[in-house]
Amino acid sequence: MITSVVLKNSKRNEVIKSNKALTILAFIIVFGFISAIMIGFSVMTISRLREINQSNAFVNMLLLLNFIILFSESIFHSLNTLYFSKDLGIFLRLPIKPVKLVKAKIIDMIISQYQMEALMLAIPMFVYGIIMNMSISFYLFVIGILIILPVIPICITSLIVSILMRFTNFMKNKSVAMYITAIIALVFVWGIIANIGGGEQFTTDSFQNMIIHADGLANELSETFILMKPIMNILSKYNELSGIINLLIYFLESIAIYELVSFIISKIYLKGAIGTTVNGKKARNKLNKLELEDVQKGNVNLTYVKKELRIMLRTPIFLIQCVVMPIIYPIITAIAVVSILKFAQNMGLDVMSIIYENTRNATGFATFLSIGQAFFMLNFSSIIAVSKEARSGVLMKSYPISLEKQFKLKTIIGAGINLVPSTIISIGYYYCVQNILQTAILFVALFILNIIGEKVKLLIDLHNPQIKWNTEYTMMKQNTNVMYELFYTIMVIAILAISSVFVMNYLNIYAIIVLLILFVINIELSSNVLKNKEKIFKKLY
């Protein structure tokens, strides 16, 4: 019963009050697009591995990848679900045994991972099954693995988080306690993942040795990552008795860990959980005397943006998804691209001339804009600009600041952060085209595309505000509005790609036309917000 209440409570999103047919179409396109990418990636990887007689390694690599993602994701997930969810205030008052509550919360976390697994594990596995002409029992084993795979990572991470929360509970500042717990848990979890591999390190010689033998890579992976060995053996030996035995072993292991972890957590859970619901204050913050400098008048626009930024920076999940990730992703990508290019050059490949040839045209310009759009998509600042404030978000409608101005102010942080990928992409483009004017046009185009994108994201948030959330984490992770953002990104990239093909050799004309169109769209969008502000903000109440 309690599990069902926890599940319903955590999954309940705001009712989408829009055209249902359009919503379904958007979902189909978005899921179709992601599925297509996953299918394409899987087909390509399996074909390459097949060429060197290592196709079984695909299964093991996929399982390993999903295991790592599950471990990493469940740190914040378990912290938020077990300790920072609003329903705790209700559950802790009821005569419920802690072990029941812990089990309900763990099941909730496990179930919420299935959506990610469906895309990241089920699709590639089914593609593998089709290519390798597997029998029906293979697919049944895949479903079995899909169901039990998240149990161990979520249980182990929850246990680490619970132990840490028991000891960081003395900290009155809950956000700091959350940060510290998350960082230490991350170190522990990565320690576990790193130590899953108990075998020798890969060397060039051992790698060559592996790929000489059929499925040598798959065997090496299962031997190296001992904790995952049973689950890796399930699919490689699915048509043998040992496959069933391994599945049974892994199932029993998962149940045993689930029961054991639930029991241990329940013994230390209440103090930590109650601690997060109790209001604490730091003595050093106690105000003795207010000075005039404490209440200095500020510019209203600046004050507004500061308020937005403070909320974002002081909430761990918002900080990660809206600030850290959008800055780190493009930097990591840039470093990776530069490293690969250097490596290729060292190998004597003339990659640069190929790149020069393919980027000095309209398609190259569109590609760089599309890369920018893809990075902008990873920035969630504007898509939660209203929702992040929960019920207090509605108060913006009672301030004597025009709604269109608040609309602009709410997109500033997102647009500002997007300057990082815009700059990196422009630098990359300059290296390819070696033309300052074309680079400047690209930068301005990226800038306007960025502004338009942030406005579109905020419009999506206002169209379906998620202000009645249970935890910041669930609002962020189960926010269906992100699908619309992805849909928008797909549309932009598709339009850029298709339009550039027709004028491939007219880079300058194409760039200027794109710039002008973006400029007009931006003006139109602003005037639309001004004209229809009442309608746009209508659902925020």
């Binding site: 009155k172 105000l287 209440v295 308020k307 207090s392 509605v394 108060l395």
Partner: protein
Amino acid sequence: MIEIKNVSQSYVKGKKIIDNMNFTIENNTVFGVIGPNGAGKTTTINMITGILNIDEGDILIDGKSITKEPIEAKKQFGFVPDTPEMFEKLTGLEYLNFIGDVYKVDPKIRLEKIEELAKEFGIYGDLKDRIQTYSHGMKQKLLIISVLMHNPKNWILDEPLTGLDPKASFLLKKLMKEHAKKGNTVFFSTHVLDVAEKICDKIAVIDEGKVTFVGTIKELKEKSKTNTTLEESFLKITSKE
């Protein structure tokens, strides 16, 4: 002064949640709106404050229309919502400074008001703590201080006494009366009929989105033909039979 003129509102087409509402809250008045749960009290307040769009009619605050001149109208009032969910990651002082900047309150007045009110409400020492560490009552007090700080002519308070301790509750009631006496308007909703009876100059009874009564408590008792308490009159006037 707040004038509500022929206001109707429906969330779903054809089903009016507020039906042709008409009343005026004069200056020098503490005006209470009472009604059963779901009667439309908060909806009314949300429409007055611009949070909810008005389908029909208009609302004027000191002569400024909330639909036609929303910014000017919003400058005329201070609002305390029913749930004190606010920007939890800000400190109390940061929130007051935010409101101070939005309403352009002079730093000296800001300092003076915050010192006076925060001390009176007993949250002075907590102003540099994050709002997330505040209790329900403390958040409510902070919201009240933020309204009083910019000293608007019209106070609009949705269930303002919920969660307040007796001292703070007494103080707020005193401030509400004093504010009205200075020629201003105090408009608030409440479930607590005793409070309405003690401090209101006038009341409105709302039931199923319709104003069933506007007047003094004496007039309500006369209308309902009861001579005892407001509670009895209220029950009689909202009775379906």
